[in-house]
């Protein structure tokens, strides 16, 4: 089968999955302006931006020859639960009758449906191989995420601007070629060395700024839609951690309940302090992670929300209260088709200034300190 999937975060993971199932994989292109234009053109106007971007991605994948599109569903009362069906209807209305859309809903919603889908994409690969390879993939995701977390801690302190991103690109290319578990562990160790060999400047613990990124899964994970916010922050000298990594998402959603790490339950519990009922999307997680980041000593939170995303709108309305009670600055950034980058950059920069001020004291001097670093960072682009 010529299989493709929506682009979200490290897409090589999904590619691996279908390679392991011996499909012919059509790699969807990383979302660009064109993806957005296509998606916006063929989606309902008031749909949220992830639906539109995914729509655009499907159309581009179909152009490249994809016949089967595989995606995960959503559950709870937000619109995400209808994404799959909406996409399916749009594709039909565009005359793509031969395209099959396979939607994986959470297995606990219906184990029957889940296994029917698994059978479909298993592609006749014997079960013992499937299980073995899925375990490899599980470790693959884990290792890749570990490396990404390191990247986010090294980038702010790199001496040669851009080097960490270059290494990260190399790492992804190398991971893309991995076939076996043994290879995985070997490549992982080598990549780790690669990261450790990046020259960094020493920064005092008290001068380090840490920011947690929370919000709806697509805009948090997909850098092409969030302006590469992790890199922007990293380049401003800020350590970043996202609320969501694929490995944790798999643990939280696909691994059977009893085997799940406790962390997820704790986050949910923290979130339920503010949102008591199920409203869908990642609202409860978002709040839970805000509190969690604060407890772990982070300095600030960037909250990403697709414009018109209902659950995140609820979160946003709670943010002034949470920010005050938990005592952590939070910057909410709505993301839509026409968010201007200049405007976004201004906010992010000003927010980081604010965090630095907060951390370092209360005199006017502080501003001067900030500038100095900043000039160094920004002047790199000038001769």
């Amino acid at each position: 089968m010529k299989v493709s999937f929506p682009y979200m975060g490290s897409a090589i993971v999904y590619k691996k999955l279908f390679e392991f199932l011996e499909h012919e994989v059509i790699m969807p292109p990383k979302p660009t302006q064109r993806t957005m234009d296509l998606g916006v053109k063929y989606s309902p106007e008031f749909a949220c931006i992830p639906l539109k971007m995914v729509m655009g991605t499907y159309l581009e994948a179909i152009e490249k020859g994809a016949k089967v599109l595989v995606t995960s569903g959503g559950h709870g009362p937000c619109r995400a639960g209808f994404y799959g069906d909406t996409h399916r209807n749009i594709l039909k209305s565009l005359g793509y009758d031969d395209i099959e859309l396979i939607i994986f809903d959470a297995p606990q919603d219906s184990w029957r449906a889940f296994f029917r889908n698994v059978q479909k994409i298993r592609n006749g690969v014997p079960w013992h191989k499937v299980i073995n390879r899925m375990y490899t993939l599980y470790r693959f995701v884990q290792k890749l995420d570990e490396l990404e977390k390191m990247v986010q801690k090294i980038r702010p302190y790199e001496v040669n601007k851009g080097q960490t991103t270059q290494v990260w690109n190399q790492i992804q290319e190398r991971f893309d070629k991995i076939k076996t578990r043994k290879e995985l562990y070997k490549v992982y160790e080598e990549c780790k060395q690669l990261l450790f060999s990046i020259p960094t400047r020493k920064v005092d613990e008290k001068d380090r700024i840490r920011v947690g990124i929370v919000g709806e899964i697509y805009v948090v994970m997909e850098s092409s839609i969030n302006f590469g916010i992790e890199e922007i922050l990293g380049n401003l000298g800020v350590e970043v951690e996202r609320s969501l990594y694929l490995f944790e998402w798999i643990n939280d959603n696909l691994v059977p309940w009893i085997l799940r790490p406790k962390r997820f339950k704790e986050i949910i519990k923290k979130g339920q302090r503010y949102i008591k009922i199920l409203i869908g999307g990642h609202a409860v997680e978002t709040v839970g992670h805000i509190i969690d980041f604060k407890e772990r000593g982070f300095d600030g939170i960037v909250h990403l929300m697709p414009f018109a995303c209902l659950p995140e709108l609820v979160t946003q309305s709670l943010i002034p209260k949470i920010s005050k009670e938990v005592d952590i600055p939070i910057l909410s950034l709505p993301i839509d088709e026409q968010t201007g980058k200049a405007n976004m950059l201004t906010r992010i920069e000003a927010f980081i200034d604010l965090l630095k001020n907060r951390k370092r004291g209360k005199t006017k001097e502080v501003f001067i300190d900030n500038i100095q670093e900043h000039v160094q960072e920004e002047r790199v682009v000038m001769v």
Binding site: P329, N343, T346, L354, F367, R379, M382, V383
Partner: protein, 319 residues
């Protein structure tokens, strides 16, 4: 020879250029329409500065605004800083105990919350124009009243009238209705000022703790009608600083001054000849990897002097 620091604020609507001395006295200020030509407007501003001040020694240059990187590259700025920090710095200088800054320009507006002379919170409008100067411009045009008379007319109104100001489109139809009810133009204008302020406070200031002293700046602060509407809404005095419409530029000049004084660095300023130099910008999509970055390139007389937008540093570092 006079020693000065230059501050430049390049926004989408206007480009402001100021010169301050060591004691932050404003020696010169100008306000130029950007008209989509930021390079020309920066050059024009600097040219005017030189003509007005004659022989000066430039000790440092700061830029801010959405065109700050471009302006920084053209002039050889020492400090390139976002406009929220720049505005805050200037306001704190003139009104040291300020707690809340209202900044309303033609296209955008902000609220900055200050505590102990530090920015502790801020917000900017994103998409909605109903809380900015263009809302007023547009309605003034509809009513055929020159925007300069807008404020005085609003103050002359005797009765309040409520205009639905949630959005420019609704405001317009509501205005027409109220005109038909027999409200005077002055009253309607006062209603519009109230609507703008309400809107701005509800949208941009949502969830913020607004504490006095309040400082109101940006182009719209010239409008007495809006000032009065703020005072009615907040039941408090509103301070409009003398240089209300160029505060961002002043802030960036102060930042440059602080930086130079602290580091004893020599300025990167290219000199006033920059106004005669031929600059051009271009952008291209890099196909070096799947990121496909949109890279901006600024050239000076054909030679590339600055690049940005690449995520990996490939272009930035190539200089």
């Amino acid at each position: 020879m006079k020693e000065i620091y230059i501050g430049v604020d390049v926004g989408s609507v206007s480009t402001n250029v100021v010169a301050i001395d060591r004691n932050v006295n404003v020696l010169f200020k100008t306000y130029i329409r950007t008209n989509g030509q930021p390079i020309d407007s920066v050059k024009e501003g600097v040219k005017q500065l030189r003509e007005a001040l004659g022989d000066v020694e430039v000790l440092g240059v700061g830029t801010t605004g959405s065109g700050r990187q471009l302006a920084g590259a053209i002039l050889g700025a020492d400090v390139v800083k976002n406009e929220i920090t720049a505005h805050a710095i200037a306001t704190i200088h003139f009104v040291p105990d300020v707690r809340t800054i209202f900044e309303i320009g033609g296209q955008d507006s902000k609220i900055i919350i200050i505590k102990d002379q530090m920015v502790v919170d801020f917000a900017m409008n994103t998409v909605c124009a109903a809380g900015t100067g263009s809302f007023l411009d547009h309605q003034a045009e509809r009513l055929k009243i020159p925007i300069e008379q807008f404020g005085d007319l609003a103050l002359s109104a005797t009765r309040p009238v409520r205009i639905a100001g949630r959005c420019t489109v609704f405001a317009e139809s509501d205005m027409i209705a109220k005109q038909q009810f027999g409200f005077s133009k002055a009253e309607i204008i006062r209603g519009l000022c109230d609507a703008l302020v309400r809107n701005y406070l509800n949208n941009v200031g949502r969830g913020k703790n607004l504490e006095p002293p309040f400082v109101f700046q940006g182009g719209v602060a010239a409008n007495k009608g809006i000032r009065a509407a703020f005072e009615r809404e907040l039941q408090s005095k509103i301070i409009v600083p003398e240089h209300f419409n160029v505060m961002g530029a002043i802030g960036s000049a102060i930042l440059a001054k602080n930086y130079i004084e602290k580091t004893n660095a020599k300025t990167n300023f290219r000199g006033f000849d920059a106004a005669d130099i031929d600059f051009s910008t271009a952008s291209f999509e890099c196909k070096g990897c799947s990121n496909r970055c949109e890279v901006v390139k600024v050239s000076m007389e054909g030679k590339v002097i600055a690049m940005w937008g690449d995520r990996c540093g490939k272009w930035t570092n190539s200089l």
